[in-house]
């Protein structure tokens, strides 16, 4: 039997009409934008299943663009997101498609930045505004964005993970969950590491400086605050 917080029952505070098709979509896009980083100039949203069929009626399109613009799922400006994106010169395209054997509410983001770099992120909205990300640039991952998350791209060599965990230990940050994905021994690996508390600036700086790490992203959870 699951345990519930009072605010699982009376909450979330959100922009309607649907926790999965609107709030969850905004959350997915906000995380995708954080994974991409940088100045985003163009986004293709490949919509699957129920997202593909009902995205206009549920405002899923507006919610997705709002997330790309870093809005929270309860931001009342969410419904004006497409207009705001246009004003900022961000191109958005919605493409209903079939992404295969995935959750009915799934979207694949193809995000282009001003330096021409492209990031691909896939994730699903699984109900009640909850989400998970399952693919980044063709690499399988799995995280929910409910906790502070560190995403690394690093060389698969002995000691890299230990370097990261000892930096977190020095800063008294507890690791809640950790997964490593790699194409093969010694090649590039991806790690999704979730922590119990916010990753400090200090720890971020030190992790960035580990020489085997090619790329690291820090994704903060989207937590409802006092409005």
């Amino acid at each position: 039997m699951r345990n519930y917080s009072v605010f699982d029952i009376i909450g979330p505070i959100m922009i309607g009409p649907s926790s999965s098709h609107t709030a969850g979509a905004a959350r997915l896009a906000k995380v995708a934008a954080a994974i991409s980083g940088g100045k985003i100039v163009r986004v293709e949203f490949h919509l699957h299943g129920s997202f593909a069929e009902t995205y206009r009626g549920h405002g899923t399109d507006k919610a997705l663009v709002a997330g790309i613009l870093n809005m929270d799922p309860w931001d009342e400006n969410l419904k004006n997101s497409i207009k705001i994106a246009n004003e900022r010169g961000i191109g958005v395209t919605f493409i209903p498609t079939d992404l295969g054997e995935v959750h009915p509410n799934t979207v694949k983001f193809i995000i282009t930045k001003d330096d021409g770099n492209v990031t691909q992120v896939s994730g699903s909205s699984i109900g009640g505004g909850n989400i998970f990300i399952f693919d980044i640039d063709g690499q399988e991952v799995e995280f929910t964005g409910e906790r502070p998350t560190i995403l690394t791209k690093h060389q698969d060599l002995p000691g890299v993970i230990s370097k990261i965990s000892s930096i977190l230990y020095q800063e008294n940050i507890n690791i809640a969950n950790m997964r490593v994905y790699r194409k093969g021994k010694g090649k590039m690996a991806t790690m999704a590491l979730e922590t119990d508390t916010q990753v400090t600036e200090e720890a971020m700086g030190k992790i960035k400086n580990i020489k085997e790490i090619e790329n690291v992203k820090f994704i903060n959870p989207i937590v409802e605050g006092v409005i």
Binding site: I9, G16, P17, G57
Partner: protein
């Protein structure tokens, strides 16, 4: 950890001589390890969102994104004040509040899912209307929300709050049950009477299917928020008069869960049955999603 059954909840409330809302606050403090003031503060900001959503569409004509619904809260509010109503200004204002939140939701405004977005009109309408009538303070409204949350936790643990799993009885039915229990405690009723109200509300809505037209949270959802609101308010009076439920709360929740499991998928939020496949609904769907 929050108790698992209504029976245990009543025992613990009796033993400690506290209402459901107080027990619910204490459990939340312990579970999330935050101070009491923080928990109350968060519920207060939740209440403020509810106040806005239940008022906005009464003062402004709000249209949904699809154009399917809108403007009813405004209409009902005007009528409520006309002096010509059958059920009185109190009930008509409650109905206007209920559909206001539903219209705000469908128009991409800010609401509180309580327990879901589709049933977001009921709890605010019931708590705020009862509070107005009873001259309740803001603290008392917040307490009512904790009573509702406690009842909702029990339903979530033993059944479901999702239309896709249990039909509309699980969404609007649960919302109305939570709301009715809250009003009973606001009126000075006992925890036992609060759960009695929740049980009666669920019994009266048992079997209600989830059949949204065009898959949108609009028709028939918005008006079911009105029905849930009226049921929650009248049941609170029923229980305060001394009427009891022959079947206890826990068993009613169990029955609701079983009925949900017995419902075919067509009647659980897939829009493949019920109102959603009537000729008019299919015609509306075509118009909304035209290329």
């Amino acid at each position: 950890m929050f108790v698992s059954t209504g029976k245990e909840l009543l025992e613990i409330c009796k033993e400690k001589n506290i209402p459901i809302w107080e027990y619910t606050i204490r459990e939340e403090i312990e579970a999330v390890e935050v101070p009491r003031e923080k928990v109350i503060e968060r519920m207060k900001s939740t209440l403020h969102v509810m106040m806005n959503s239940s008022t906005y569409a009464q003062d402004n004509i709000v249209k949904s994104v699809s154009g399917l619904i809108g403007g009813d809260a405004y209409k009902i509010r005007k009528y409520a004040e006309s002096g010509k109503t059958l059920t009185g200004e109190f009930m008509n204002k409650a109905m206007a509040r209920a559909i206001s939140s539903s219209e705000v939701n469908a128009a991409m405004g800010r609401i509180v899912a309580c327990p879901t977005a589709g049933s977001c009109g009921i709890l605010p309408a019931v708590i705020i209307s009862a509070g107005e009538k009873l001259n309740s303070s803001e603290d008392q409204l917040i307490q009512g929300l904790f009573t509702a949350a406690g009842v909702g936790i029990l339903i979530a643990k033993n059944a479901t709050l999702a239309g896709a799993e249990g039909g509309c009885q699980a969404e609007c039915g649960s919302a109305a049950a939570m709301a009715s229990a809250a009003v009973v405690e606001m009126m000075g009723g006992t925890p036992e009477q609060a759960l009695t109200a929740a049980a009666i509300v669920i019994k009266n809505i048992l079997g209600l299917v989830c059949d949204p037209v065009a898959g949108l949270v609009e028709v028939p959802c918005a008006k079911r928020n009105i029905a849930g609101t009226v049921s929650a308010l009248t049941t609170a009076d029923l229980v305060m008069s001394g009427v009891y439920s022959k079947i206890p709360f826990d068993e009613v929740v169990w029955a609701m869960y079983k009925v949900g499991r017995q419902m075919p998928a067509e009647l659980r939020e897939t829009s493949q049955g019920g109102i959603a496949i009537t000729p008019t609904a299919l015609k509306l769907k075509k118009e909304i999603f035209k290329e």
